[in-house]
Symmetry: D2
Subunit: 112 residues, 4 copies
Amino acid sequence: MNDIQILIDELVKFRDERNWNQFHNTKDLALAISIEAAELNELFLWKTTEESENVDRNKLKEELADIFAFGLLLAGKHGFDVKEIVLEKIIKNGEKYPVGKSKGTAKKYNEL
Amino acid sequence: MNDIQILIDELVKFRDERNWNQFHNTKDLALAISIEAAELNELFLWKTTEESENVDRNKLKEELADIFAFGLLLAGKHGFDVKEIVLEKIIKNGEKYPVGKSKGTAKKYNEL
Amino acid sequence: MNDIQILIDELVKFRDERNWNQFHNTKDLALAISIEAAELNELFLWKTTEESENVDRNKLKEELADIFAFGLLLAGKHGFDVKEIVLEKIIKNGEKYPVGKSKGTAKKYNEL
Amino acid sequence: MNDIQILIDELVKFRDERNWNQFHNTKDLALAISIEAAELNELFLWKTTEESENVDRNKLKEELADIFAFGLLLAGKHGFDVKEIVLEKIIKNGEKYPVGKSKGTAKKYNEL
């Protein structure tokens, strides 16, 4: 079994042991991701870009893990294959950001 | 090679072909995750919990994929093993939310 | 003097007494707003829409106040007249969402 | 009448003309603030702190105005006096961040 499925299975087990499936609707799982993303960002608030590279690794790991956890629960709920959807998005982004136009610039695709 | 590493490698390749590593500092990658998380949430804005379950599957896939993509790039940048950090977080959350206390309630650990 | 300016003046005084102007660049003030917005949203996580109406009023006040505070500091930093920019945005939104097309629907303007 | 109340009245009028009150529950208004905050942050994504100061003023005005708009609608819905809640929060923050301890540092109150 692949690593992504192992993680989803563990997360679902954790959830079901606590009877939390009743709370894990799609809208709230998405909200949870965004709240965890804000906690991640809080590690860098008022810090320079350089200082942010030296963030506490344990805190960074934990905040990132929380985002992955809710992301995987949401993907699992809808039966998505995470590998597949990310690879598909890379292809799609390749069309929005062709190398020739986007190389070395951070402009959004609609400004290229 | 495991699926998570395959995805990180593909994302890094995509990034490097466009010379985007210069923009992908830790602070901005975290910001990108949070912006993508907001785009995910926008799919559910002004929708009921029930309506949100019937979200357009393609849009949901794409927004989730964007979050995973920046999350994986950030994990890869810091050399984290995603499987490991998520499993570690599950253990830690198990201590914060013991089954006996947290079963069937959505209360935060500091309110249990 | 109007209420909005009184608030900005108090916030700037608070900031300057602590020598925090050095941290209050535009990018971090925007980040701060978004972190406070996530804290506001956390009050409603895993709660139904109905339960959310009965949120603790003191917590709601505090989280909203934090958002206004950073928003006003950002507006003040750029010399914006908050009353003016909100009234201008209402006019602009009225063009994007004409009553005839948008009445009773939560659709985004590009789907009307 | 004060400026803040004028803005709330205009926003409520705009909302009611479109029959949007049905969508403006507390949970979704909070979500809307956070989505608008992400749009504000997107103006600065992949930009340095210095570049971010030179953001397009019109875009900055519009994104800030959106945040204020939903914040004011939420405050109005719960009958809050925005001036009062912000002034109260300043006092509370003054207790968390006494000048002597917090001057010149961006540390969080629980790390002071």
